[in-house]
Symmetry: C2
Subunit: 107 residues, 2 copies
């Protein structure tokens, strides 16, 4: 992992929600997909990931259910809620704005 976690902070929840807008998913897979998409340059540490899930659940942005795997390790799936989709769009807008402003300050 090469990107300072302070640069990701504030985007963790947004990234997870982004992943869930595509399909229901579970922790381990979300992480794998992020690593695949960023060529392993970015990774959510699992402690970070599960902390984020608790937060998202508490805020009603995701709902959760256990998978019915008959074989292999059990999976806890997450699903984005309607509120989650709204918040996701807001976060994305905020991110775009923050990006522009930071860029305008860097010479």
């Amino acid at each position: 992992m090469s990107i300072a976690s302070d640069l990701l902070r504030g985007n963790t929840d947004t990234i997870i929600l982004a992943s869930l807008t595509e399909h229901d998913s579970y922790g381990y897979l979300i992480n794998k997909e992020i690593m695949a998409k960023t060529e392993a340059q970015m990774e959510l540490k699992d402690a970070t990931l599960y902390t984020a899930f608790r937060r998202l659940e508490k805020d009603g942005l995701v709902s959760t259910y256990w998978g019915d795997e008959e074989v292999g390790a059990r999976r806890r799936y997450y699903s984005i809620t309607e509120k989650g989709r709204e918040v996701y769009e807001q976060h994305k807008a905020e991110w775009r704005k923050a990006k522009e402003m930071i860029d305008s300050l860097l010479v």
Copy 2:
């Protein structure tokens, strides 16, 4: 101030260094300039600013001296060091990369 501080986190030092690459400056002025450039949408809280100065100084990225105002409140000026310029370029590169990766993850 409308931008979540978690989105700025990790860029505070970079933003201060950016400001100092243009000219030596002092806390109050740096903050005013940031507010002016971002139309007051972004602001570094002064506690955050002074914490950052201590950190930058400790790491040898800035040096400091007292202004010689004969009138008005005293000013503590900061000057970016050679090392500071190098670190600034690195931070900027990291920021560009983080930006790209986050963008690639948001749908």
